[in-house]
């Protein structure tokens, strides 16, 4: 499983049928990188950024998945960002990736990723940032957003 496979599986999991914003992809894949023992090459590398951990590779892979028709970029009315929404193709690829994770004995990691997807999809922006900062304060050092008391 490559890091892009995990990104696609994250998108294919249930929990956010209208798709996720880039910030939730960043935080979700960061938590996956920190909580699981998958090989290092299968994880994105993160740096502490203005809003916590950020990996430029996630942006380029999301673009690549859109270009290949595996994800849909949907503008959000009234907002400047787009959501990345899964489609039938995403779900089919997700099933295939789950089988592959099983073959590679990575089902525990796949389950953890599912749990993370449920978490990041059910939290508001502030709650999500607080969760990540509390769990990994070393990635909050450059955040420009003040933490709640």
């Amino acid at each position: 499983m490559t890091r892009r496979d995990w990104l696609l599986l994250f998108a294919a999991y249930e929990g956010a049928p209208d798709g996720l914003d880039p910030i939730r992809f960043q935080k979700g894949l960061f938590l996956f990188a920190r909580r699981t023992r998958v090989p290092v090459r299968s994880k994105y590398t993160f740096k502490p950024y203005d809003y916590g951990p950020m990996s430029p590779g996630i942006y380029s892979d999301l673009d690549g998945l859109v270009d290949k028709g595996l994800l849909e970029r949907v503008p959000v009315p009234g907002k400047r960002w787009s959501r990345y929404k899964p489609s039938k193709v995403t779900f089919r690829e997700g099933q295939r990736l789950l089988k592959r994770a099983e073959e590679e004995k990575l089902l525990d990691a796949a389950r953890e990723l599912f749990k993370i997807k449920q978490d990041v999809s059910s939290l508001r922006f502030n709650e999500l940032l607080e969760r990540v900062y509390a769990e990994h304060p070393e990635f909050a050092v450059n955040s420009i957003f003040r933490r709640s008391a």
Partner: protein
């Protein structure tokens, strides 16, 4: 024309611009992308607005000039003026050199602080204390308005990372007013003690996400919180791993 901006903060200077270059008469203009923020000479960050060939000539002259950020700022200012004056008497670009302005930033090793200079083709040069804007009058007006909506933020209190976000917000708000002649993505560079940096595209996306988050938090304060994605009514056909 263009929109260029400089913001001097606690520990550095941000220089930014739009990325659109326009040619032709009003109503028949052609727009294309141009690099407007760059490092023409080690230690100096430059943003230009106005006629591209004149701006390019200025950049080339600056590149070839024996100029160091360690020099006295008044000497640097005098040299930059001299370059501009040389261009203005060049008969091949003389007419077009009336419509160009620059923002030049560097870290003064002598004064141990960031310096930014707003250089106008008429010969005037203004030191940048907090904000400086240049380019199309309507773009400058829009950007000034955007700055006015954030007058509760004192640039002198901002760290460089925070200032980048504020500068991006001003530039993208101004660009989104759709003033003819400015547009495209925001370009940005920074000057601080550790050196000069052109902000890479991936980092720009991160900065945009940060501004998006900032705006989302403002909206949450006023309107209450947006519901998280899991509360959607759309049927969820997503996959799940075996137990």
């Amino acid at each position: 024309m263009t929109l260029i901006a400089a913001l001097r903060c606690r520990d550095g200077v941000i220089v930014g611009s739009d990325s659109q270059e326009t040619r032709g008469a009003r109503g028949r203009r052609i727009a294309r992308l141009a690099q407007k923020v760059y490092e023409p000479r080690p230690g100096f960050l430059l943003a230009w607005a106005g006629t591209q060939d004149v701006a390019q000539s200025f950049g080339l002259h600056l590149r070839d000039e024996e100029l160091s950020p360690s020099a006295d700022r008044l000497d640097i200012k005098a040299r930059l003026h001299a370059i501009l004056m040389e261009l203005r008497v060049d008969p091949s670009i003389e007419g077009r050199s009336d419509h160009v302005e620059f923002l030049v930033a560097w870290w003064s090793r002598r004064e141990h602080k960031p310096i930014a200079l707003h250089l106008l083709s008429g010969g005037a040069g203004e030191w940048v204390e907090s904000w400086a804007l240049g380019g199309m009058a309507l773009g400058v007006e829009s950007a000034s308005f955007a700055i006015g909506t954030m007058r509760y933020i004192n640039p002198a209190d901002l760290a460089l990372e925070q200032a980048k976000v504020v500068a991006l917000k001003v530039l993208r708000d101004a660009i989104e007013t759709s003033v003819e002649g400015i547009g495209g993505r925001v370009q940005m560079g920074t000057v601080q003690e550790s050196g000069l940096q052109i902000v890479k595209p991936a980092d720009m996306r991160g900065l945009h996400d940060t501004v998006d988050l900032w705006e989302a938090q403002c909206a949450e304060l006023l309107l209450g919180t947006d519901e998280p994605p899991s509360t959607s009514d759309t049927p969820d056909r997503g996959v799940r791993p075996p137990n």
